[in-house]
Symmetry: C2
């Protein structure tokens, strides 16, 4: 039986307006409140400072990007330091002219940047035109040390990729944190909405099980755009057995969830999947398809 | 919208006795009955010919192994041919003195061996002493063509490895088939039984979602050994969205399940995960842990 090692995670599930300052201020207030309620690691949703601007392709929207450090990260850094909590914050990063990223910044409770992750898997679907905006990440998959947990920052579309979860876990991440912006299109919700939500939750629970880690997903809520996306919320935390231990509804909500990282040690002893990986036989993972020579 | 492409899958969930001839005869009869009920691809459980002998380490048990082709595979080949169905059959393979495998053989409806897979991930847990018996497979992960579906044969412990599912799918498999022998230990069932079952189902549903494939898992039932394993059954089929479309209970049962492989095309268009894989960044998958130089 491993030693108990508790960390309290805070998830801030929010709707965003067109008023960037108000969105950031709400996040700052949320960080403070989460800390007051015991959170030691606070996870904001994807691109929390703005509406989900990827619903159209509009070059003017690149004006929303900021350098890191920049005005938004300064405010979040101050909030992290003021509340003495670690924070995962997803920002639209301006790295240089013509090179913009969707980036998750991990702040320590001292307000310093502990690490960053640039979204590796970039979607492109109707109303999710992210390939227009985001240059694919070039930092790989990482584990960021914070005082209470090794954090594996990943972002939204990464949720569907077992490779992303695995590589973050192999790097040492104990908690995979996914800032998210996913929702229903009006044309699909009635027929497929519940199945989409269930698939989204299930594949991430699978990552928790396969890797013996906690998974934290913070999604946004609210409807954005005309005939637009209804962000479905349902932010959740699951344990290394894949069991959902807390889940939000479809409105603004804060989750405060105690996680015992000591369970990683126990679960990985009970079901020692990492021991038996066939690393001699996984080379094909770097292929697009294994269809050559057939 | 893709063209409908139907295949009917049959799963034979059975208990096994000490009478090998009777176990194989039951499988042969099951194949015939499944075919009569419309099955075109029949999936037997792991090591269907015998009790799950890995509950102890006993060198005498190597006598149970057979070459391939051998007496058991001949009977199954004849049954496949007689009923004109494809069959996935898991056998204890004697490859040579001191080299034994846990092998899934795929037979075509002509009774010929269409392909084989040797279990790659070998567990070793109390009452699952497989590392004693089974040399790790050396054929890698494969897709086996059958008239109605490209089959990705995998076996039990492989269920926990996203790499196995991914590599089989990249090789072209449309249906991942897992012959299985998993159950509860009496000491764990009350506290963890339902969570273990749910994790087992969930991680496989995750493979279906991440890869856009059908998943078929055929498990055994019955209790074997003193204070032994209660094999939990719950054989199931899930679609490429991870939705369970058929599931057995905890007794002997046959499932006959129609699957539309045309859905693979649709689901992969709706959520095009394979398009966005970062094959430039997955090299670390072949590492044991990414902990060096830290």
């Amino acid at each position: 039986m491993a030693t108990e090692r508790l960390v309290t995670v805070g998830l801030i599930q929010a709707a965003c307006s067109d008023n960037r300052a108000a969105n950031v201020e709400a996040a700052v207030l949320g960080i403070r409140e989460a800390a007051k309620r015991g959170a030691e690691l606070v996870c904001l949703q994807e691109l929390f400072a703005t509406r989900y601007f990827c619903q159209t392709e509009d070059a003017e929207k690149f004006d929303l990007a900021e350098p890191i450090p920049g005005p938004t990260t300064e405010l979040i850094a101050n909030a992290a330091k003021g509340a003495a909590v670690s924070v995962v914050a997803s920002v639209f990063e301006r790295r240089g002219a013509g090179v913009y990223h969707n980036t998750a910044v991990v702040f320590g409770p001292d307000g310093e940047i502990a690490g960053r992750y640039r979204k590796m898997h970039i979607p492109d679907d109707p109303q999710y035109y992210e390939k227009f905006y985001f240059t694919p990440g070039d930092l790989g998959f990482v584990s960021v040390p914070t005082p209470k947990a090794a954090v594996g920052p990943l972002i939204c579309w990464d949720q569907w990729y077992p490779e992303a979860a695995r590589l973050s876990a192999l790097a040492g991440a104990e908690v995979l944190v996914y800032p998210t912006a996913i929702g229903w299109l009006p044309s699909e919700k009635a027929a497929h909405g519940m199945k989409q939500l269930d698939a989204w939750r299930t594949v991430q629970r699978g990552h928790a099980i396969a890797n013996g880690v906690f998974v934290v997903a913070t999604n946004r809520v609210g409807t954005e755009g005309e005939d637009g996306i209804e962000f479905w919320g349902h932010s959740f935390v699951c344990d290394p057995f894949g069991e959902v231990i807390a889940e939000a509804g479809e409105d603004e909500e804060m989750l405060i969830v105690e996680c015992d990282l000591g369970r990683l040690e126990d679960v990985r002893r009970e079901w020692p999947f990492l021991r038996d990986r066939r690393i001699d036989a996984y080379g094909g993972i770097t292929a697009r398809l294994l269809d050559e020579g057939k």
